[in-house]
């Protein structure tokens, strides 16, 4: 389907790219002129391709424009005209203006004409619009005024100024907006006059236009003129947004970047402008602004301090560090949290003790989380890491867990020795968290130390945490043989049974043949716990290489526990092979079934078997249908296997499913016969 679509698209592309002859063009215009929704857009797309092709080809461009102009005239449909205007927006020249002028005369086509005229490069387009404005009514008048404003047509100011005093508020507002965009001197005069004389309903539009004018004056270098307008709109009677806009522009107009005005606002009582003033501090260019405004911090209300901290922090320089640090100990929670977040962005190792102190007291979870995030974010790399490690000795076990997480998130490799030392703790939660961090941070070179700690552990409950960490570190060594060598190097020196057992349990993470041999030997160890550890390791071996060894254990088990472990290992390995269902796998399942000793074994077996998409897998599953203790599992396995093989082996699947049907009820005659009675007669 995709290929078919691509072929169609390619063919269409070639067709569209072919040059058009005059007759073709004429036909294309005729076809396009009839376009209405519901019909093929092929003629329109051909014109769009022509537009693409006409770049740098004046003759073709002219031909294209002529065609579009023809589409603007009757009998072309509205949608054809709309399409033509869209194309003329990109390519129209003065040649198209007369036709567009005709469209401006009718309200229903004024908008689409303005699509083309809005971006028309010629000044003559302005004249066309102005002429049309004089007689336009309703929406057409609004449309043309808007377009003249968007084109910033200076010569339209007179007409627009008259329109700005129209009794119709919508018309007046539209004209005032347009004048604000034009913003030349005559337009400015009109807007200035309107500030005094406009109806209250238009006050906001006049204010908006005035700010546009101020903006334009500022851009042209007339700071004084711009500032005068802004001062006027800064008055408390003005709407909040107008005041904020005026204040923002005033700050930009002043030679000191608005520093004095900001200070005045900070010390004043205008609650609407104070946040705007603080927000502007971040962008001030003067060097001493940070120091100057940091000095204002203690004088502000808590909510204002929060804003100020953010603004100062956004400046990012060293002058703001100490004043912000001081607020980590603020009595106000919001201020403290703002300061903590800010030091996280700005500060380095030297703030670590203060952040540790900030953890004291009854703090909310959010604040503690902020402190942790700040510690993670602090600059200073290794020096900061060292400072945090130094704090480990100072804090109680519960808080240390948080620091372990911080060190892990910082990627603080130098913390590994300290974290390993923490695994000697008597607190299981501390040991677990320390090992988690070690697993994240330790590198291959650290593995001997990690293993040393593991074999030396006395707390049995935490041993699995140590083993998990060691496995994570082992996975960072790409060569499996090298992983085995590191484990073996430690094992040869280890006489402790628990330690050796732990090391044996790491071997599956290598998947290496040498490691498998080690486990084979360990299965015959004189110490029962070592033998069990070896079987446990074999049962988690990552590939089928352990099959024969597990099968051997299963056939001649030392204990029922060991047998069950080996059997589960075999089931897992068989299941792992299900993605390649072949005769060899079927044979493995056959042997596995023969090793099952009880219903639990058979349930495990059927669970794995049900994932084999091979018709021969049906036979062992069907054979267990008669075993009441596993009948539901056997049925499920048959259903799953049958569903998986149905497409390629419909007959085998059908036959298997038939075996699941309950046996048909014997007829009444047969039942009676079985009871030695004559059959009942029909009534």
């Amino acid at each position: 389907m995709k290929l078919r679509t691509s072929v169609i698209m390619a063919a269409l592309g070639i067709a569209l790219a072919l040059p058009l002859h005059a007759a073709d063009m004429s036909q294309l215009i005729t076809d396009a002129a009839k376009y209405e929704s519901g019909q093929s857009v092929e003629p329109l797309r051909k014109f769009e391709q022509l537009l693409r092709d006409s770049a740098g080809k004046p003759a073709l461009r002219t031909e294209m424009e002529v065609a579009m102009i023809k589409l603007l005239a009757p009998p072309a449909t509205f949608e054809a005209k709309r399409f033509a205007c869209q194309q003329l927006a990109a390519i129209g020249t003065d040649a198209s203006l007369p036709a567009l002028a005709e469209l401006l005369k009718k309200e229903e086509t004024t908008g689409i004409a303005c699509l083309a005229l809005g971006v028309h490069p010629s000044a003559k387009a302005n004249a066309t619009l102005r002429v049309a404005l004089a007689s336009a009514k309703g929406r057409a008048r609004l449309q043309i005024a808007t377009t003249l404003g968007d084109r910033r047509d200076a010569e339209a100011v007179k007409s627009l100024s008259e329109m700005a005093r129209d009794n119709d508020a919508l018309a007046a507002g539209t004209a005032i907006f347009a004048l604000g965009k034009i913003a030349n001197e005559p337009a400015r005069k009109t807007i200035a006059a309107l500030r005094k004389e406009a109806k209250p309903a238009l006050a906001r539009v006049v204010a908006d236009a005035s700010l546009s004018v101020a903006d334009r004056l500022a851009a042209s270098g007339d700071r004084k003129g711009a500032a005068a307008i802004c001062e006027e709109f800064l008055q408390p009677a003005q709407p909040d947004n107008i005041r904020r806009g005026a204040f923002g522009l005033l700050l930009k107009l002043e030679k000191d970047g608005g520093e004095q005005r900001i200070v005045a606002a900070l010390r004043g009582t205008d609650a609407k402008l104070k946040p705007v003033a603080i927000a502007a501090i971040g962008a001030l260019k003067s060097r001493d602004a940070s120091k100057k405004f940091a000095a204002e911090l203690p004088k502000l209300q808590p909510a204002e301090q929060v804003f100020m901290i953010e603004a100062l922090a956004s400046r990012g320089d060293s002058a703001v560090r100490d004043p912000i640090r001081a607020l980590i100990a603020s009595a106000d929670a919001a201020v403290r949290r703002a300061a903590i977040v800010a030091v996280g962005r700005l500060d380095d190792a030297s703030v670590v003790p203060q952040l540790m102190d900030a953890m004291t007291g009854e703090k909310s979870p959010e604040e503690l989380q902020d402190i942790e995030t700040a510690l993670v974010s602090l600059r200073g790399n290794s020096s900061t890491d060292r400072a945090i490690v130094a704090e480990l000795k100072e804090v109680p076990a519960e808080a240390r867990v948080r620091l372990f997480s911080v060190l892990a998130r910082r990627g603080a490799h130098l913390a590994v020795p300290a974290l390993l030392a923490e695994t000697s703790s008597l607190n299981p939660a501390t040991v677990q968290a320390a090992f988690q961090a070690v697993g994240k941070l330790a590198k291959a070179d650290d593995l001997p130390a990690v293993l040393e700690r593991l074999v030396g552990m006395s707390a049995a409950d935490s041993r699995s945490d140590g083993e998990s960490a060691a496995v994570r570190v082992l996975q960072k060594i790409t060569d499996p043989a090298q992983r085995t060598d590191v484990i073996m190097a430690r094992m040869t020196k280890c006489s402790d049974i628990d330690g050796r057992s732990s090391l044996l349990r790491l071997l599956p993470s290598t998947g290496d043949a040498k490691a498998l041999e080690v486990l084979k030997t360990a299965c015959g160890d004189k110490e029962p716990r070592i033998r069990e550890a070896a079987v446990r390791a074999l049962a988690t071996w990552p590939n089928v290489a352990a099959w024969d060894m597990l099968a051997a254990v299963c056939r001649q088990p030392e204990t029922e526990t060991v047998r069950a472990l080996a059997f589960r290992g075999l089931v897992r390995l068989a299941g792992d092979l299900n993605s390649k269902p072949d005769a060899e796998l079927i044979e493995r399942y056959r042997k596995l079934m023969s090793m099952a000793r009880n219903a639990d074994d058979l349930k495990l077996f059927l669970g794995a078997l049900s994932g084999v998409a091979h018709p021969d897998a049906l036979k062992p599953a069907l054979s267990l249908l008669g075993a009441n203790s596993v009948r539901p599992e056997a049925e499920l396995a048959v259903r799953k296997i049958a569903a998986a093989v149905k497409a390629q082996h419909p007959e085998a699947a059908r036959e298997a499913m038939q075996r699941l049907q309950p046996p048909p009820k014997p007829s009444a005659k047969a039942q009676a016969a079985a009871k030695g009675q004559p059959p009942a007669k029909k009534k």
Binding site: E108, G111, T146, F177, V205
Partner: protein
């Protein structure tokens, strides 16, 4: 020098108490506001919603979860949507107080409303935002922020002139997975970045359909808004059909691609500028015999920054295949948008990621940033300039695809080296919609 403690408890005792809080979940910080927990009515930010369709219904619960927000009004051009939005908001507050306005200008005239969520169709985003700014409201507007480069620039200027707080609803800057990817790039974990690659799904097509009467309950004129009039055709208007036409949606790569250009700009620290070159290839357009839709089905959209870094958006595959990948000379890092999963090479980078964090579908963090900005008046993460620059990239790619040629772009003057292309950066809005 350690700080003096005011309490008589030892540091150890304090820390033991503090640790009791340590396992609680992270809550979006309202630190800038001091607004955690209950909020007095006088301190609430009063909201209204403009355009309450599919997207708004998805994001509205995120807004309503903030205790500091009081939602009082909704507006939509479709009566049934207006009614169901009112129902949803009234249910949240257990009242019947949510006001409804078929015309959003009436909603904007309400003096008690401080801010608005704009979740209309794309054609309305910039225009409605500018109307809201003029009415003195702060704005959270769904992406894309505009449908032409000129409209986007106008939005930036309007918000600046009127001191408006505006947040573009691209929300991924507040998402843990995307923040992590950015941090890793900035920390040099993948070396020097040379390419930013992303993928959006294939665009839809709309078969030819004849005009039909406007359904009852629809204000089609208001629905069209600034788009020059065209007849009501269900396939062009309903569902996501409007996405497949230039003046109502601009296609999938423009609509969705802006999420990834926003990320690209953020990571490359180019929020106030943009690429210098745009090019497209392999564009597959709808078959004009079968389909009336205009925008591309698939294609490759490229850009290049002045420093040589390349951006690529592939429009291909399915909805679930979208991603962004930063490729450096020492590795790569990728965020799968559908699953929020981060992938990387070398894989060791992933060890540095902390588990958890809300995905992009929870816009709470982004909304929280917006609310904090309303109070502090500092620009939010996706302020108009940021949103406009990200959107300009996909717009410029679209223009390159429509013209079928490579374009050079001056990010300072915001002009192409091609006059046809420059004329496509603006589309005159339909009266009376002007700003």
């Amino acid at each position: 020098m350690k700080q003096t403690r005011s309490s008589s408890l030892t540091r150890r005792q304090f820390l033991q108490r503090a640790a009791a809080f340590a396992t609680a979940p992270l809550i979006v910080p309202g630190r800038a506001l001091g607004l955690d927990g209950a909020v007095a009515p006088s301190n609430r930010i009063v909201f209204g919603g403009i355009g309450i369709g599919n997207r708004a219904r998805h994001i509205l619960p995120n807004f309503l979860s903030f205790a500091e927000i009081q939602w009082v009004a909704v507006s939509d051009a479709r009566a049934e949507r207006l009614a169901s939005a009112k129902e949803m908001i009234d249910a949240r507050y257990g009242t019947k107080d949510c006001r409804t306005y078929p015309d959003f200008r009436e909603l904007l005239a309400q003096k008690d409303i401080d801010a608005v969520l704009i979740a209309t169709g794309n054609r309305w985003h910039a225009m409605a935002s500018m109307f809201a700014a003029h009415a003195g409201k702060d704005i959270y507007c769904e992406k894309p922020i505009s449908l032409t480069i000129g409209e986007g620039r106008k939005l930036v200027e309007t918000c600046r002139q009127l001191g408006t707080i505006y947040q573009a609803g691209t929300q991924r800057r507040a998402t843990a997975s995307y923040r992590f990817a950015r941090d890793m790039v900035l920390q040099g974990k993948i070396g020097r970045v040379h390419t930013v690659e992303s993928q959006v799904w294939c665009g839809s097509t709309v078969p030819h359909q004849k005009p039909e009467p406007v359904p009852a309950g629809w204000d089609y004129d208001m629905w069209l808004g600034p788009v020059q009039w065209r007849p009501y055709v269900p396939g062009r208007v309903q569902g996501h059909g409007w996405m497949c036409f230039w003046d109502t949606g601009e296609g999938m790569h423009t609509d969705m691609g802006t999420h990834y250009t926003d990320q690209m700009q953020w990571v490359l620290d180019t929020d106030n500028t943009g690429p210098v070159e745009f090019e497209t290839s392999d564009i597959v357009w709808p078959d004009p015999v079968k389909f009336m839709s205009e925008t591309a089905i698939s294609g490759t959209f490229r850009c290049r920054y002045k420093n040589g870094i390349k951006g690529v958006i592939y429009q291909r595959g399915g909805f679930k295949d979208r991603y962004i990948r930063y490729i450096g000379d020492e590795g790569w890092i990728q965020v799968d948008d559908d699953t929020d999963e981060v992938k990387a090479e070398p894989k060791s980078i992933l060890n540095l990621k902390k588990a958890g964090g809300a995905s992009w579908s929870n816009a709470g963090g982004h909304i929280g940033d917006f609310l904090a900005s309303i109070r502090s008046r500092r620009p939010p993460a996706c302020n108009p300039e940021v949103g406009h620059r990200a959107q300009s990239i996909v717009e410029a790619m679209t223009i390159s695809a429509r013209l079928g040629r490579k374009l050079k772009w001056n990010p300072v003057t915001e002009k192409f080296n091609d006059e046809d292309a420059n004329r496509m950066t603006w589309r005159e809005p339909r009266a009376p919609w002007c700003v």
